[in-house]
């Protein structure tokens, strides 16, 4: 039985089992967590695209997308060191106890995507929840059509999940296009911004969905490309983020007009987003 989502603001203690420094600049680390309560750990079931609140006592809480797939044993988050809480988190060693509240938000409607081609487009460290999605899709490979991932970073050292990328590259049942912004020594892959590469790859919008996660500037230039490829606004899924305090629809910080990112999102179709005030 799946436990009902928690409606209070009390985090569960979780142990950092493993820390992986993902990027050359050291600003991104993956934290592999296990809830101390065995039953809670067993019952932790999420959908790719959902997030959780991570908390460091004395510093606070912040929302982070869940980067692990539901089938994976440990709950994994790849965290950019940028604010008070993420800075404190980055200083913690393996074995430390932090707080976790989640899963929260809606996640991608993966059941609805069955039988369709799925295009995942990621820029920078926004790739995290798409990693969770891709792992899920590959585990349920026969349920989906073609799987394409386009993933770009500023330079090779900023690509996350390098070992997995190498493995996905070798697979015959998916296409992976990795790109970096500018030429770099030792890089023999694609060079160019994500929108340009998307234009070259030109995925067809027929019987397909596109999941786009990245910095606003990347999204801005990728959306017209997808439109040209035949993706209607109902076929494009984005993931919003806004500052939030509670994650459960109470504190109202994360509102985009009437849409609460924590309660109604973070995943939203482009069609729905177009009906909202541009407050994200």
């Amino acid at each position: 039985m799946v436990a009902a989502p928690k409606k209070d603001m009390i985090p569960l203690p979780a142990k950092i089992e493993k820390v992986v420094v993902e990027t050359d600049d050291g600003l991104l680390k993956s934290f592999y967590l296990r809830l101390l309560d065995e039953e809670a750990q067993r019952e932790f079931k999420h959908t790719p695209g959902q997030f959780a609140m991570l908390s460091v006592a004395g510093k606070g809480e912040c929302p982070i997308g869940i980067a692990s797939a539901p089938s994976e044993e440990l709950i994994m988050f790849t965290v950019f060191r940028t604010g008070l809480v993420t800075d404190a988190l980055h200083r913690l060693p393996e074995g430390a106890i932090i707080g976790l509240r989640g899963p929260l938000g809606n996640g991608y409607p993966l059941e609805k995507f069955r039988g369709k081609n799925v295009v995942l487009i990621a820029g920078g460290f926004a790739v995290t929840t798409l990693r969770a999605t891709l792992v899920y899709l590959l585990e349920h490979r026969e349920d989906y059509g073609e799987i394409t991932m386009i993933y770009g970073a500023r330079n090779p050292g900023l690509l996350l999940y390098k070992e997995e990328l190498a493995a996905w590259r070798k697979r015959e049942d998916m296409k992976l296009y990795l790109t970096i912004d500018r030429e770099a020594p030792g890089w023999d892959g694609l060079v160019g911004f994500v929108p340009q590469i998307t234009e070259q790859v030109a995925p067809s919008g027929e019987n397909a969905v596109a999941l786009v996660c990245g910095p606003p500037i990347m999204i801005k230039f990728t959306l017209p490309v997808l439109e040209k490829c035949g993706f209607g606004p109902e076929q494009v899924y984005l993931s919003l983020e806004n500052r939030m305090r509670c994650g459960i629809g109470l504190c109202h910080h994360c509102n985009v007009g009437p849409f609460l990112v924590c309660r109604d999102g973070p995943v939203i179709t482009l069609a729905a987003l177009k009906r909202l005030p541009p407050e994200y």
Binding site: G99, H252, E279
Partner: protein, 325 residues
């Protein structure tokens, strides 16, 4: 069930309640406090009864400030409280906030432990407009008892069992139904709901949002947030970890959407960077987003924002503009 309580019997009743429960009353124009004899009944208080449910500090967790320490969940207050002198507009504010907060355990606990005795205003206010926002002060909504000052007595309507029990501590005698109902009827005939609400319901959200009037109306706003803290329906909160020495506590605090920090991301990006965007968000929330989602505006017409705004902004200028765009 209707009762009549003589005005001179009010004090003895409050004394009796205070012997059995923790009683809070409006003590001065500033706000409520524990009953110690002071009683301010001339009008509504500056701070609303919202504080009894969304207090200025709500501790959620306490922890020892050392790595690996497990936080302890704070048990919310369980002490039975009675609040006397709650204006019907404030009680309605509680009902509106509850539409959002009903799943919150801290809210639930405070609601269960608190009885509210309402007091209708002697005269309809000149600065407030509960009726325009659809509040019927005689309904007793959100209250356990409602008192209507009437000539030399209070007409009392019992709303809940808890209210009935409280009233049994008084010398109130059954009766007064006719007078109560005629007062209610008279009020409703004289003070209708604002037609602006219906117009707001019908208007397209983005039409209001993109209207040109926002710049002009927001111009005087200092984004000080006074309106949000005084508002009996504003419920946004912040969460802070406070560490003093080796003791840490995570607290929930009232927050204002007027502040730049409210929506600023850790990256520095802010979706509502301009003061106008924040001003607009507050009114859109109250008179469009909430109205669309719950069918009622997030406003009870208490008029505190108008009275206390240092820039003299009047809510009606905004509501009118929104409904007529």
């Amino acid at each position: 069930m209707y009762y009549i309580l003589k005005r001179e019997d009010l004090r003895p009743w409050l004394e009796a309640i205070n012997r059995e429960y923790t009683l809070f009353v409006p003590r001065t124009r500033d706000g409520f406090g524990p009953y110690e004899g002071e009683l301010y009944l001339e009008g509504k208080t500056r701070l609303s009864a919202k504080e009894f449910f969304l207090p200025w500090r709500e501790p959620l967790l306490v922890y020892e400030a050392r790595p690996g320490a497990l936080p302890k969940v704070v048990e919310g207050p369980a002490e039975q409280r009675v609040v006397f002198g709650v204006r019907p507009c404030d009680a309605r504010g509680v009902i509106l906030i509850e539409k959002v907060f009903s799943p919150d355990p801290f809210w639930q606990k405070r609601r269960e432990a608190t009885s509210l005795i309402g007091l209708v205003c002697e005269e309809p206010g000149t600065e407030c407009f509960c009726w325009a926002m659809g509040v019927n002060p005689f309904s007793g909504e959100g209250l356990d008892l409602v008192l209507v000052p009437h000539e030399e007595v209070y007409l009392v309507k019992v709303i809940t069992e808890a209210g009935k029990k409280l009233l049994s501590l008084s010398r109130a005698a059954e009766g007064g139904e006719e007078a109560f109902l005629s007062r209610e009827k008279e009020f409703k005939a004289k003070f209708p709901v604002s037609p602006a609400l219906e117009k707001l319901r019908e208007k397209d959200l983005m039409t209001i949002y993109e209207a040109p009037f926002w710049e002009e109306l927001a111009l005087p706003c200092l984004n000080c947030g006074a309106c949000t803290f005084l508002c009996p329906t504003c419920y946004c909160f912040d969460v802070q970890d406070e560490v003093v020495g080796s003791e840490g506590v995570r607290v929930r605090l009232p927050e204002a959407c007027m502040f730049e920090l409210y929506s600023r991301h850790a990256s520095g990006h802010n979706p509502r960077r301009s003061p106008m965007a924040r001003f607009r968000n507050r009114f859109m929330h109250k008179f469009k987003y909430f109205l669309d989602e719950y069918g009622e505006p997030l406003c009870v017409g208490c008029g505190r924002c108008n009275e206390e705004c240092p820039a003299n902004i009047n809510l009606w200028d905004v509501v009118r503009a929104m409904s007529e765009v």
